[in-house]
Symmetry: D2
Subunit: 309 residues, 4 copies
């Protein structure tokens, strides 16, 4: 009875009808914080995997795709990002990417879950890679919505690295109009906001569509980038919003030139060519989103019963 | 003891350490032909799934991504594709996409497995959608390599829709230099060859790299497009090769204009913007391929133990 | 990428924390009747498997263990069973075992789900093996409880082959005191009732305990037999109830002698020695049931969180 | 996207066509010793699970069934067991059961894998429960076969708690005739040997049959007990062998009386009634074994393709 050498599996459910199985070598940490259930396991293919409330958040070997896609298009599109605000981002990797930019003088990160950040610093030090010790960093542990109500600083770039706004999770209630109204007041003139904006594929883009529609009511210029995250098994979207800055107006050469003059260290995923690919959404995705914006009903009984919310 | 309503699963192994689980409602067909084991099942999320020798080949709801990415960039880049050769492509969907082009006067498809084609025509009629009945179509059941040795026709576009060249499968032995030498003799002047060129991701692109390297020795102009196929869980690559035609030289407007003048019916995935995204490979993929071409060893013990061959 | 030759799995959930995976070769039937969802699949190890509302009911290769354990101890313990009533038992295998007894002159089977019986006759003919065509058989399609209210016949042996009384299933509401009151009126003098009485193991015997406790209030003599059903992964119990007959009073020789004089054909599972094993419950099972009867609370937070109801 | 709270699974393969999935809360230890791969995980239903070379060995909540079934029938059947030898049994639970007997003056345990025993003492202290500290205990780390060649002591009871003799595992080569010849010389007059004797069910009892047949050539009196081990999913067998002692000759009352006079502490699984059940093998099991003994070929292509060796 020959057996494979690895015996434990993380079965990541993608709706009720699909799952991604990851062979894991061992569990690293499993703890319930005040806000959410945190699990960290080591998988054979993706290295360490962070799981929040049962949802895979990121993995050690492919988080560079997610975090570079989230941070750099907006940072590079801004002419001179000096003050940056990160909402969520407990792993510290979003902060790490922000701090690569020499222009940055101050980076504030607001996360509700202090214990999560401690666990990430202890068990996922490769993610933050020194970002929490950087003198430009300021970390605030607070509810993002409450904190924004009292804050009076302005930021050139605001990066939303929050979990999906699902019921019974910390991010529920964010991504609503009151949230965007508060957020706009925190943007400097000429500033740009960018946020992860959920899964984007023919199987399911309902949550993306709802969020995107809300953002169209708050900002004049919206642009969506899309990257395939191998460990998630799904293409993930990132949407930037501003009054003036349009990331797709930059050409490849200009992007490569800004990267080489502004960044401290080399990137693994993002450059001018990658930028072009990120913002070129496939035809059926554009069409599905346009149809939703025109008639925002969920197409019941269509290709798939899988939806969120 | 509440249970989900669906009970059967197709567990698609992606190497030894990952699997993609698809909930299926029922099996449609399971038969061993002379050449391979054929399974067709109906899944909840992706509709019908075709499985050859245990490897998922395509699914009803997302095959349009695969087949449009394979066929149209090369067909559109060619100035006037009249004669087209399809190698493999048993489902008939590659043929279907080829025949959408008004310029096509003759489309020859060569597949080794007659029974597979019969099963696809019977159980997956949506895939071929009439392509086998089109008067321009000619289907030959033969070993691709043997057939090319005796054929004396020339084709403007040759489309390789063969399974990966794994040991103990029908496609083993194809994709080698002798194969490309034969193939070049079947290309018209100014013709273009395009083939699926396997998985392309940080987890594993060994098979792609080997194939790409072989092709660099056979053709001067190579271009790789990459699309995420949801049902496969992985980004898939398509490489075109020619002496003259370079698909990335076409701009969006020219592509959209060729599509509207040359195609009989509307596409779902491919247009000018999608084209831009298809050919913009991420930085780490370009880098990994460049490193392999310079020093073609498999990086042992690196990020992942998963590799093919 | 070598793969096992079989690709589909029936994942039978046993509570939320255990599952039994069965490799299946193909689905045979999947249909929603008026009362329940019926699935029949062919598994590699157990042959055909019948699934009702997501719960495995029986399998072709081991159903003999279940059905012989259910029927014969009570039938053999009765001195001369002429009239037998089967409640449920849609597959027809319980009827088949009843009809093996030469003494039987009439066997009435009452099942609510006519379509289920049709599907079993068509797709599982090995189960009934001619029982539905036997001239002694009478099949009634009716709600068991309603039918018993109007019936005025009496039976020597009544066999309960109903699904577990779970919410939203046809058997919910059966196994209650009103049910037993009706049932007692249908028993001839000296008659015996036997029923499947759910899973019996240290992991979970709550449903068994609840049912057993109800039966202690209805009948003076109760005896529980327990057999391991390989396809279920769990030991299953069968409880007989009567005013006079005690199956454990028969010794091995008497059982073997009654089997050889009364049965038409050979058995595969049951004989005198098997009988001894069936009724010898392990110490911890006896203890757990005694504790429940004395203090019928479910021991929360004990060895397992898995329980039913 | 609601998810179950537990995310990791131990998928225990039972042949190629069945698996048992255990939800686990965390891994405890995963180490390769000189002899085998050791894994300890904590499962929701069964508590800690010990895995050797990928095969589940025992679980915290049901190991009492295995260890009491292995040890007590032979110990109780012996009139006065003073010196006991345990072969294997790294967890220390077999030793624990042996030491419950007041008659025991000396218990020697021989296990090849010192590191395994250390890991069990550290991570599974409930299993040995002080047995390793008992002054009557003597632990020898040696190859069982080599050690028996040099040993000149005799024992009243010898308990074999070795893993199945599969290729590439430490127990391969044991359970052969040379092994039994050595073993017989270590038995006192009137002594008894008992060993776990593998899975016993209609799906697969090949390994049991081979072992049993070998033992029939070495001993005149053989008796097989069979207990269902919930965590294994399969009925497990234990075979005792001697020249004089026949465990099934004891009646229930005698067993209960010996238990109460000889044992230090209460048992959870074994008593007179359990004993009766243990030794009453089902008819089809007796028949399958008899057929194998008469004609020891493996019935190819029969009910199941699953077999061992």
């Amino acid at each position: 009875m020959s057996k494979a050498r690895n015996w434990w599996w993380f079965i990541d459910r993608i709706g009720d009808y699909e799952s991604h199985m990851h062979a894991i070598t061992h569990t690293i940490c499993h703890e319930r914080t005040e806000y959410q259930e945190v699990g960290i396991v080591n998988s054979v293919v993706y290295g360490k995997i962070l799981v929040l409330d049962g949802d895979m958040q990121s993995s050690q070997y492919d988080e560079f795709i997610y975090h570079e896609s989230l941070v750099h298009p907006a940072m590079i599109a801004h002419p001179n990002p000096e003050k940056v605000l990160v909402l969520g981002g407990g792993e510290g990797a979003t902060l790490r990417e922000v701090l690569r930019h020499k222009t940055v003088k101050k980076a504030v990160m607001v996360d509700i879950d202090k214990r999560l950040v401690e666990l990430c610093r202890e068990f996922l030090p490769e993610y933050s890679a020194g970002a929490f010790e950087d003198p430009r960093t300021e970390v605030v542990f607070a509810d993002v919505l409450e904190w924004m109500k009292t804050c009076d600083e302005k930021f050139d770039v605001i990066v939303g690295d929050l979990t999906d706004p699902l019921p019974q999770t910390p991010a529920y209630g964010l991504y609503s109009m009151p949230f965007f109204e508060l957020l706009k007041r925190r943007l400097s003139e000429g500033g740009i906001f960018v946020t992860q904006s959920s899964r984007i594929s023919f199987v399911d883009m309902y949550l993306h569509n709802v969020l995107y529609k809300t953002m169209t009511e708050a900002f004049p210029i919206l642009r969506t980038a899309c990257a395939h995250i191998p460990g998630f098994d799904v293409p993930w979207s990132f949407t930037s919003a501003s009054y003036e800055i349009d990331p797709i107006k930059l050409n490849r050469e200009e992007i490569d030139s800004r990267i080489s003059s502004r960044l401290i260290s080399e990137l693994k995923y993002y450059d001018g060519e990658t930028h072009t690919g990120l913002f070129a959404l496939p035809l059926h995705v554009r069409k599905a989103r346009r149809e939703f914006l025109e008639d925002p009903k969920f197409p019941e009984g269509k290709s798939s019963p899988v939806f969120i919310i």
